[in-house]
């Protein structure tokens, strides 16, 4: 029986006003009821534009030139107003902050229903229904401003669902959320798709959370739909297209796997278990890498840390100090808090660049964001600070350059208490890139953006031009030197913002969530820049939710929770010791191969088994 098409897109091309290049080029596809479609592609590939074309915001809200057609439930979106399409197509946007109209969850959910003039009784029924189904009832008496990002995004979803749409469009809805909230949100969306038969169109960068949910994956590149097919087909297709986003576990098994590739950790674990079993029973000679463990066979994989350090070419003293710090922290990670403080307070770190002693921070509203944090970071270390939202990660690093002052305790930078130092004066020693790169960009051109930093930190005038050129080259932004940063794409802006901090080469670089909302390729480039910067002997501190990124880049991991350091040590020690705060690779190889946290380690483990 032929399926009815709910959405038909035919030869859709669209150019934003004032732009020469089209954002969408000749896109055609059709969606049937109950389908879950995942839109992937690099920043600026046209995902958001395609989402907006589905509910008529493109072209009605933005203007511009449109070609081809989009028909939703038989209605042409180009000739129908957005507000009239609101009952058929519901849309959830990227930033939960920007889509809340009222200040209470109930009135927010009712807002759309009031707009379409629904009767009060029906409104009440729909509001209660969606609140119950999305488990929002306990938030009824809260104010929107009191909700977390994940809760706000759920309210946004509820306010759209209450209008009973047939098509649900989500434009990177989890990009502002922590992994746990994101997982929860996407699971809700999937269950809505399963149970209500809603068409779901989801644009996402972090595909590992939703790849397996999709019935179809559409890959956009430069405004064109270059691939459309099932996740398995997409994985096969991506063999010739390295830039295509895939979940880490899928990418791992891609090479050499002629049959289907795993899409989830569960499938990955099954594959690993099968390989390990085959190796353990079928092969006569068990490779030396395999050795028995108490309950299961286990493979030891050499961590890539020492090689990494050696290959970075940093000076031996620094490399040794780094290794020393790592080794010390392996131990520290398993010690209790008191022992740890004792050891760190002894000043056992000879080239400490940042140290905190019994650091507490209490915000004006009484929130204890940090509770007695003792920490020392040596020059040349690459540290990742991980933990759930509200665990104190950002609060901690904002003390390193004086943006926040301790409520109690001390912060020492190179042994000196920075209690009375101004933020601007500390910037030369500690550069910091916040969560929103746009905040960094205020000048009219990329070059003047970099020059402003050099002038501020008092770099020698004769050196400035050279320093700017070097940074432009390092971050591959030389072609945009005279462009207005605001005219650049998201990934390019991220690099310019990073350049504005890196240009004076601060010995300590702190980055707060640098991978939030950026695509796979930009992330890989960023990892490469940061490794290179660290290899020069600089300290890099990364606050992130992206555990794969942290594992690939860093040596040391700090796990925070409730304002305290819960674990601190070598990434292998911390990540393998954690059930949830670990990489997909580690989850796949747990119990089979020891200490696998990065892709190269996972590949080595696979090789040892095959």
């Amino acid at each position: 029986m032929e399926e009815i098409e709910l959405v038909e897109i035919e030869g859709l091309s669209y150019t934003y006003p004032g732009r020469r290049e089209p954002a969408l080029r000749d896109v055609s596809m059709s969606l049937t009821p109950g389908e879950f479609v995942l839109l992937v592609g690099a920043s600026g590939s046209g995902k958001s534009t395609l989402c907006r074309a589905l509910n008529g915001l493109v072209p009605h809200f933005y203007g511009g030139r449109i070609g081809g057609s989009v028909r939703v439930a038989g209605v042409d979106t180009a000739t129908t107003e957005v507000r009239d399409l609101a009952r058929t197509v519901g849309m959830v946007f990227q930033d939960p902050e920007n889509q809340m109209v009222t200040d209470s969850p109930v009135s927010e959910i009712a807002f759309g229903l009031e707009n379409i003039g629904l009767e009060r009784l029906q409104m009440r029924k729909r509001v209660e229904e969606v609140m119950a189904s999305l488990r929002l009832s306990q938030l009824r008496d809260k104010r929107i401003s009191e909700l977390s990002g994940g809760q706000k995004q759920k309210v946004a979803l509820a306010s759209v669902l209450a209008m009973h749409p047939s098509v649900l469009v989500l434009d990177e809805p989890t990009s502002q959320l922590d992994p746990i909230s994101a997982e929860d949100f996407l699971s809700q969306v999937k269950s809505l798709n399963d149970e209500l038969g809603l068409v779901v169109v989801l644009a996402e960068h972090r595909v590992e959370r939703c790849f397996h949910f999709a019935d179809r994956v559409v890959v956009l590149d430069g405004g064109r739909a270059v691939f459309a097919g099932s996740p398995e087909e997409m994985a096969r297709w991506s063999r010739g297209h390295d830039w295509a986003p895939l979940p880490p576990v899928t990418r791992l098994f891609l090479a050499g796997s002629e049959n289907g590739v795993p899409l989830t950790v569960k499938q990955g674990r099954a594959r690993v278990a099968a390989l390990a079993a085959r190796k353990g029973t079928g092969d006569a000679g068990v490779p030396p890498a395999l050795h028995g463990r108490s309950a299961s066979r286990s493979i030891s994989v050499a961590p890539d840390r020492p090689d990494d350090l050696a290959s970075r070419g940093s000076c031996p003293r620094e490399a040794e100090a780094r290794l020393g710090a790592s080794r010390r922290n392996d131990v520290v990670g398993t010690m209790d808090q008191r022992q740890k403080r004792k050891m760190q307070n002894k000043g056992s770190c000879p080239i400490c660049c940042i140290e905190t002693r019994d650091l507490w921070h209490v915000y004006d509203d009484g929130t204890e964001a940090l509770r007695g944090v003792d920490l020392s970071i040596a020059q040349g270390e690459f540290v990742a600070v991980i933990g759930e939202n509200g665990s104190g990660k950002t609060t901690l690093v904002r003390h390193f350059n004086g943006l926040l002052r301790p409520s109690k305790g001390k912060v020492l930078v190179r042994g000196a208490d920075i209690k009375d130092a101004e933020v601007a004066s500390l910037a030369a020693g500690c550069g910091m890139l916040g969560q929103n790169p746009n905040n960094q960009l205020v000048a009219d051109t990329v070059v003047s953006e970099l020059a402003a930093t050099l002038a501020a930190v008092g770099a020698p005038a004769a050196e400035r031009e050279r320093m700017i050129e070097e940074t432009l080259e390092l971050l591959q932004i030389a072609p945009f030197r005279d462009s207005d940063p605001q005219d650049l794409s998201c990934g390019e802006r991220e690099r310019v913002a990073l350049a504005s901090v890196l240009v004076h080469k601060p010995p300590v670089l702190v980055l707060d969530e640098p991978t939030r909302g950026i695509d796979h390729a930009t992330k890989d480039r960023l990892a490469a820049y940061l490794r290179e910067y660290n290899a020069l002997g600089n300290t890099v501190i990364l606050v992130t939710h992206d555990l794969e990124f942290a594992a690939e880049c860093c040596q040391r991991v700090l796990l925070m929770g409730s304002g305290r350091i819960l674990a601190d040590g070598d990434k292998h020690a911390v990540l393998t010791d954690s059930l949830f705060f670990t990489t997909q690779y580690n989850k796949c190889f747990r119990g089979v191969a020891d200490g696998v946290v990065t892709r190269s380690e996972a590949s080595s483990a696979l090789e040892a088994m095959s």
Binding site: R52, N55, L57, F61, V82, R83, A86, R87, G90, F93, E97, N98, Q99, M100, V101, T102, D103, S104, V106, S107, A110, F111, L113, E114, N115, I116, G117, L118, R120, M123, R143, S145, A156, S159, V160, M163, D365, N401, L403, E422, V423, A424, A427, A428, G431, M432, G434, N436, N438, N439, Q440, V442, A443, A452, T453, A456, V457, Q486, S500, V501
Partner: protein
């Protein structure tokens, strides 16, 4: 940060928003029409009692900073510009615009009286901000008024977001080594000017995002229906009565001269039992509201009729 409305289980929040606004209006009215500082103190005390009954006393009290700033300014400016009063306490030099400076005790007292009056009005405003749901006030508006009310509510809601954005922008610039607080006031202003453009652009982006979200949820489709329809109940009648009595006491007191207080040429006030009774009236009524609020919390019968 100024504390905002939070939903609490209290009688004031259970009342119709129009009722609470009327009650607040009556307090502002009597504060504006009477000169008597003791009556102003009574109004402030009555407002404090209502804030306590709504469980927001601490938040309400935190507005003292605004009251203090406005009060001190009034206290300083009035004696400098006023030439009235017969008790000269200081003769100063001649200054441009103001002429010879003569400070009188009466002008200082008048400044203090005005400061009390302003504090009373600010604290009533604080009570409304803390105890009345802004969305329910929005719901009072119909037709063209509702669009304006929505616009005002959205603008007000964007204020803390804009302040937060601006603060993040300043932090980002400081982290690059840009000294934004050094030098003269002019230098500080000049160093911050380029940030205004960025700040405006961020606000504009947020506004566009909000407009998209509103349109995507059918805003502007035609006549809107209303989810919340608050009805007037027994307690609203009681609160209206309290508001009416407070207004009547103030008006009657002023008209009869019972609440009269003269600052110039010398301080003079009418004493007597009627004056004391009228001054105690707002306190007694607020006390009544407090008791009623406690009963309301414990009595299902009353809650169901509120």
């Amino acid at each position: 940060m100024i504390p905002a409305f939070r939903k609490k289980k209290c009688m004031l929040q259970a009342l119709h928003p129009a009722t609470v606004l009327t009650l607040a209006l009556s307090l502002v009215l009597v504060s504006l029409i009477t000169d008597n500082p003791l009556f102003q103190v009574a109004v402030i005390a009555a407002t404090a009692m209502l804030a306590a009954s709504a469980g927001v006393f601490r938040e309400w009290l935190s507005w003292w900073k605004i009251c203090a700033v406005v009060g001190v300014m009034t206290l300083i400016i009035n004696p400098l510009v006023s030439r009235y009063g017969s008790t000269v306490i200081w003769r100063g030099p001649s200054v441009p615009v103001l002429g010879h400076l003569i400070i009188t005790a009466e002008a200082v007292a008048y400044g203090a009286g005005m400061a009390l009056r302003l504090a009373a009005v600010i604290w009533v405003f604080a009570l409304v901000t803390l105890a009345v749901d802004p969305d329910s006030v929005l719901g009072l508006m119909r037709g063209r008024g509702s669009s304006s009310a929505l616009l005002s509510a959205l603008t007000l809601r964007m204020v803390p977001t804009t302040v937060r954005d601006a603060s993040e922008l300043l932090d980002a610039q400081r982290s690059r080594g840009i000294a934004l607080d050094k030098g003269s006031k002019w230098a500080v202003l000049k160093s911050r000017l380029p940030l205004v453009k960025r700040s405006m652009s961020t606000s504009l982006d947020r506004a566009i995002g909000l407009a998209e979200a509103m349109e995507s949820r059918g805003y502007g489709s035609g006549r809107r229906s209303r989810y919340e329809e608050r009805r007037f109940g027994l307690l609203d009648a009681a609160a209206f009565a309290v508001a009416a009595v407070i207004a009547a006491v103030g008006i009657a007191g002023v008209a009869a001269g019972v609440l009269s207080f003269k600052y110039y040429p010398v301080l003079s006030m009418r004493y007597g039992a009627p004056a004391v009774l009228l001054m105690l009236a707002p306190l007694v009524l607020a006390m009544g509201m407090m008791v009623l609020s406690e009963v309301w919390k414990r009595s299902n019968w009353l809650r169901l009729r509120a």
